[in-house]
């Protein structure tokens, strides 16, 4: 029988990492993601799989514990919310420089600073453009449901180890706090030490007579070598852009207008699409699932089809820049955002789309019809 439960997004993520064979979680509580550590503390992962769960003394400690675990080839995770993720940026940059796989969860709250504990999407730039120093990218997954909070734990590990890259799940307070049905998979076993040695020859698993010592470092003072390191990183990011783009299209086939939104904003737009369709407006939704790599080609294709794109974000306009780059002037792109923890409503975003595109289109209808 299928194991279906009603869970909060944060709990689903915590259960997801356990079942995906996670070796260690290191974290520090912060609203609105404290349920991750809370759930891990009350569901005995140590007894279930031998997974380590540790409340670190700070976010900076958490990320560096992740750094250490990842260097040893372990499946390791930390989670936090916006101010905590800012604290982690140094460690994330070091992991980018050493190409260590790990899974990071940001349950975004409104900023800047301590801001608010309410949901927001204002950390898009930080997640997608590389929040720390240096030329690097992370794979960024944007769940729009509690089921995806669960599913992306396993997907995140898979992608992280496939590409030796940091994977960030960019969620928000709404997805983290709400409860929906979740279908759970069977428990995956954790890798044994022998399996790690075999699968990850780069990991610091102890020197053996048949190979050189593994050293994990991001430091190379020789600029010629450092340039090659950077070029190889860029090659990897390009490969990821070519192979790992994920998105969902809702009612796009005959769409004349398009919402572009991710995460909880995409759920709101999904309802707005239903409301719009009921009024006879041919509106669809493109939901990027990966924010890096971004569905640039798909948006370029849709730009040939629709009359306008309405980006909805709980930010002052961040993802909209990537939509405009993708569309490259072929079609008007408008942005609408609510800030500081306010969540827009479905009829509100539909109204904005109508105001921006349809009112003028309706006027055009009065012009003599084409032949």
């Amino acid at each position: 029988m299928k194991d279906i439960r009603l869970m909060k997004g944060n709990e689903a993520f915590a259960e997801g990492i356990i079942r995906a064979g996670c070796d260690g979680y290191f974290g520090y509580p912060i609203t609105p993601q404290s349920e991750v550590l809370e759930y891990l503390s009350t569901t005995n992962p140590k007894e279930r799989t031998g997974m380590v769960v540790l409340q670190a003394e700070s976010e900076i400690a958490s990320i560096h514990m992740v750094y250490g675990g990842a260097a040893a080839g372990k499946r390791v995770v930390t989670s936090s919310s916006s101010p905590g993720i800012s604290l982690m940026q140094e460690g994330i940059s070091f992991m980018a420089g050493t190409e260590l796989p790990c899974l990071l969860l940001n349950v975004v709250r409104g900023g800047p600073g301590l801001g608010t504990i309410q949901p927001s999407q204002s950390d898009y730039f930080q997640a997608v453009k590389g929040g720390g120093h240096g030329d690097y990218k992370m794979i960024v997954l944007a769940p729009a449901s509690v089921q995806e909070m669960y599913d992306f734990a396993k997907l995140g590990f898979d992608l992280a180890f496939k590409h030796r890259i940091q994977v960030m799940i960019l969620s928000d307070g709404a997805i983290g706090q709400m409860m929906e049905k979740v279908e759970l998979d069977d428990q995956m076993p954790r890798l044994t030490d022998a399996e790690i040695v075999k699968r990850y020859p780069w990991a610091t698993t102890g020197k053996t007579p048949d190979r050189k010592r593994n050293i994990i470092t991001s430091l190379d003072l020789n600029p010629v070598k450092q340039e090659i390191i950077n070029q190889n990183l860029q090659k990897k990011f390009k490969h990821i852009e070519e192979t790992e783009v994920r998105f969902e299209k809702i009612q796009c086939d005959d769409a004349e207008y398009l919402f572009v939104a991710y995460g909880s904003s995409a759920r709101i737009c999904q309802k707005a699409v239903l409301l719009g369709r009921a009024q006879g407006i041919k509106v669809g939704l493109l939901r990027p699932i990966t924010l890096f790599p971004f569905p640039t080609e798909e948006l370029a294709r849709l730009a040939e089809q629709v009359h306008g794109m309405q980006v909805i974000e709980m930010s002052a306009g961040q993802m909209v820049e990537d939509v405009r780059l993708a569309v490259n002037g072929r079609v008007p792109v408008a942005h609408y955002g609510r800030l500081g923890g306010i969540i827009p409503a479905p009829d509100e975003v539909l109204h904005v789309l109508e105001q921006n595109f349809i009112t003028s289109k309706t006027e055009k209808k009065y012009e003599p019809a084409a032949y």
């Binding site: 706090q177 409503a345 479905p346 009829d347």
Partner: protein
């Protein structure tokens, strides 16, 4: 069928847990459900609210500003949510502590003296189940057997001895609910 519900009142009245029991019960009856709480400053003293959706179809937005049913348990929530009921929708409230009663004429309004009744019974904790009974009387979306399963799922095992008491309160709530203003 899709029923979009807001439950709003003081923290401690059992608003969130009422929503949780409703969501669990819906899930047990094989419905799609979502439960979206206010977890912000409200929760830290003052008002609390939760949006619950029960549907036969995949739920689009768990976050809404218009509802089929509003269950309102204090004055602040009345001020905030009376106008969020869809025309033709249902508003259920407990008049205890209400100084400004709902005034809309385009919705069906019901009341239940749940706080008084719970005090009379000496069981403050079943207050929210009386209110849930009122809702289920007006919107019989979920069969009693699934409410029972929902209670089993949402209450910790050590509290399962309370289930019969809760079910009795739900049945009593069904009897106590009174129409205040009905559409023709």
């Amino acid at each position: 069928m899709t029923e979009e519900i807001i439950i709003a009142g003081f923290g401690g009245q059992g608003v969130l847990s009422m929503g949780k029991i409703l969501a669990y019960s819906g899930m047990m009856q094989d419905k799609e459900v979502s439960w979206f709480p206010s977890y912000g400053p409200e929760m830290r003293g003052g008002t609390a609210n939760v949006t619950v959706i029960i549907s036969d179809e995949r739920i689009s937005s768990p976050i809404l500003n218009k509802f089929d049913t509003a269950i309102i348990l204090n004055q602040q929530s009345m001020d905030k949510f009376e106008n969020s009921v869809k025309p033709g929708g249902v508003l259920i409230y407990d008049p205890n502590g209400i100084v400004r009663h709902p005034e809309r004429t385009d919705i069906n309004i019901y009341s239940i003296d749940a706080a008084d009744e719970a005090a009379k019974l000496g069981l403050a904790k079943v207050f929210n189940m009386l209110v849930l009974g009122a809702f289920l009387k007006l919107k019989p979306l979920i069969e009693p057997e699934y409410i029972h399963k929902g209670l089993e799922k949402s209450l910790p095992v050590r509290r399962h001895n309370m289930i019969p008491e809760n079910e009795k309160a739900i049945a009593l709530g069904m009897e106590l609910v009174m129409p205040r203003h009905l559409l023709n």
